[in-house]
Every structure is written in C-alpha cells, then in structure tokens.
Subunit: 210 residues, 2 copies
DNA sequence: ATTATTTTTGACCGATTGGACAAACGTTAG
DNA sequence: CTAACGTTTGTCCAATCGGTCAAAAATAAT
C-alpha cells in the first residue's frame, strides 16, 4: 500500500517544476510567504502565472514542497555529527559545516528564518517531529561526551541553539554584517574570519590564556 | 534653526499615535511589513482605518517611526558597556542585558529581524550610521582590553555578532526553541538556562576543565 | 496523417490591498 | 451661543492579489 499516489511525471513537468522551485526559493526567501506574489515567482521562472499554476496548484503548495525538500539539506550537518568520533573534532566540524551552509545556501537559511519568525505556521509539525527527534538524539550523544569528560558540561540543547544562531546569523543578517564590517572587511573573507572566531569561541571562550 | 518642524500635537494626538504604534509593533513583528495590513493594525488599535490614516499618513510612516524609536532601546545594552569597568564583568553584563531584552521585548527583536532579513530596505541608513558607529567605538574598547591581556584576543566585530546572534535567537526563533525543549523545559525557565549557558560559553568555551 | 494528450496563454473573477475624500461629529475658545 | 478647529466615519477607488477557465498551441502516440 502506497501512502502517496505514484504521480507519473513527464520530462517537461520535472524540469518546469524544478525551475519554479528555484524561482520560488529566490522570491520567498527575500519577501517571506505573504510578501511573495505568484506573479513574481512566475516571472523569475520565465513563465506566465497560469502556466505556473498548471504545475503547482497554489502558492502554499510551492512553499510546503520547498520546505520538505530543504529540511533534509538543512539538518544534514547535524546528522553527520558522529558519536564515535573525537568530540572536539566533531563539534569543530559541525560548526564549520553549518557555517559553510550559511555561506553557500543563504536563501535556504532565510526561508527557514522567515518561517520561524512568523510562528512557523506551515512547518510546525516538521519542527516538533523530525527536527526535535534529531536534536534529542544528538543531545544524548553530547551528554555522553560530557560524562566522559571529553568536553565541558553544559546544556547540550542550548549549545546546539548557540551553534545554529551564530552560524545562521551570517546568512540571515548578511546585510547588517556587511554594513558593520564595512567595504574592506565585509568582502568574501568574512566567512573565513567568522570560522576562525567561532571555532575559537566555542572551544576556548574569552577567558585570557596563561 | 530647526531641522524638523515643531509639529504641535494635541493630547489626543499623542495618545492615539502611541496606541497605533503599540498595535503596529504587534502586527509588524508577527507578519512583517508586507504581510501586515493597515486594517489589522487599525483593529488592534481599536479604531477605523481612515481614523488611523489621520494620524499616520501611510503604512510606511508607521514603520519608520517604530524603527527610529526602537533603535535607541535596542542599542542601549551595548551603549552601557563601560570601557572603564572590569572587562569580564562588562561582557558578562552585556550578554545578560541583551538576553533580558530578548525576553522582555521579543516583538522589537522580531521587527528588526524581519527588516534585516529582507535586506533592510527601510533602515539601511541607520545601520550604516548610528549602529555601525557604536559598534566601531565598542570594538575599539574591546581591542584595548585584548592588548591589556584582560580578555582573549579575538575579532571584536565577530564577538559582537555572536552575542547578538545567540541572545536574539531566543526571541526570533522562540517557537522553535520552545518546540525543541519540549513542554517541560520550554517554560519560563528557559531564559535562566540560556543565561547560564551563554555566560559559561563566552567566558570558558567548551574545552574540558582541568 | 490523425488523434489524443500535454502544455501554454489571454481573459477574466471576486477578494483584498493601501489610500483618498467629503461629510458628519466632537471639542473648545471666544 | 457660535465659530473654529480637531476628530471620526462611510463610502469609494484603482491596483494588486490568488486563482479559474476555455481555448489555442505544442507535443506525443497511433
């Protein structure tokens, strides 16, 4: 028994749906769900509005399709956190991967941020389900590392929040980051600077050495 | 010579404008600028739409008025950072005050987040001006603390970003934080847990003690 | 080539949007 | 009391919104 209909799709359907989702990601991440219009998305995808609505029955259908696809990509860095690896290296790697995602997929980051900011009206089930389950699992891993004395004993949930917040900040608040850093320091190197800083912050803190 | 017209205001004008801004903060922070409607704000303020438009000529005028008022409140915690105080205590105090703002003024936090997320189309001048100036000033203070060996040598700009990101996260991503923590740990105590965690993170890092 | 199917489009719809406006209403100073 | 001024409202408008629909155009199957 299948939970979803097989849905045969032609080559054109596959291609056009992909082009639409790409355009929708652009527009939704810039203006939010309510701020985005179907006309904008259609124009960005290079087709007419009725044509777009032939592939997606509604604005909401585009949005949920995007969200479902993105969640996996978005949680991938945390999934890779290996409980059998060296704790410090694993955390360092997680921070690095998450920051790379903020650098390479800023639209995805802003799409999620927009949705959460407005109360997650369309993706709450995913947050309470898939996302929470993964966080619970990795929090248990971190607790074991703490018991074994591999890392300092802190609240693993708030640790994950802190890693999310600091890394996604460089995607979600990009314009502010660039404005504050100025034209010289706000260039491409800002992600390398951020990587160095965050790695040092999470591992060493601000207490002066020696 | 005055740069702005005196603009005499009656008692009613002062009261009504205040009520409107309060309602606008509610609606804008929930739905963003484009997602909010004048009707919604008018209803929240307990008046008709034409009546509201008698006090504010447009939706945008409400938004910029809110932004101008909020920026001072928002930057206050950083302004209080005293270059003559003890560096560690000052940073600890700054983190605490910023987290208290996220707890007590989440709507203001979300309003800013919404604006920045969408490219800061209406407040870019304030970010490049007032905000950047203050950050530059406090960054210099922190650099001196580092030269004097009072705190570890890190990039002060990214340090400020990290404090902003981690504290505002509890306002902007509140629904996600509560969902992940669950009903028992997501209650009122989550801000105390966050305060303990962040203070420890920024000062000590995750390196295991001893 | 002819049919059947998929894709695209222009025209259109009702609902909602931000805002205008004049008339009505309330308040207050003389 | 009344004239002047401040406040409120109902009505209206053009623009835009998400979405429909029938028909044309393109493509695929026979």
């Amino acid at each position: 028994m299948e939970t979803a209909a097989p849905k045969r799709r032609t080559r054109i359907q596959i291609e056009k749906r992909e082009a639409i989702l790409e355009a929708a990601l652009d527009v939704f991440s810039q203006h939010g769900f309510r701020g985005a219009t179907i006309d904008q998305i259609a124009e960005a995808a290079g087709m007419s509005k009725p044509n777009l609505l032939y592939y997606f029955r509604s604005k909401e259908e585009m949005h949920v399709t995007l969200m479902q696809r993105l969640l996996d990509t978005w949680l991938a860095p945390l999934r890779e956190l290996d409980d059998e690896g060296d704790p410090i290296s694993e955390l360092r790697g997680y921070i690095r991967r998450k920051l790379e995602m903020a650098r390479d997929f800023p639209r995805e980051s802003r799409l999620f941020a927009n949705e959460i900011l407005q109360g997650a009206p369309r993706i709450m089930p995913m947050i309470e389900g898939e996302l929470k389950t993964l966080v619970d699992e990795k929090a248990r891993v971190m607790k074991r590392w703490m018991r074994d004395g591999k890392i300092a004993t802190v609240d693993p949930y708030h640790l994950i929040f802190a890693i999310w917040a600091t890394t996604q900040h460089y995607a979600d608040f990009d314009v502010q980051v660039r404005a504050v850093l100025g034209p010289d320091r706000g260039g491409d190197g800002r992600f390398d600077d951020a990587a160095r800083f965050l790695e040092n912050l999470f591992l060493e803190g601000l207490r002066p050495p020696r």
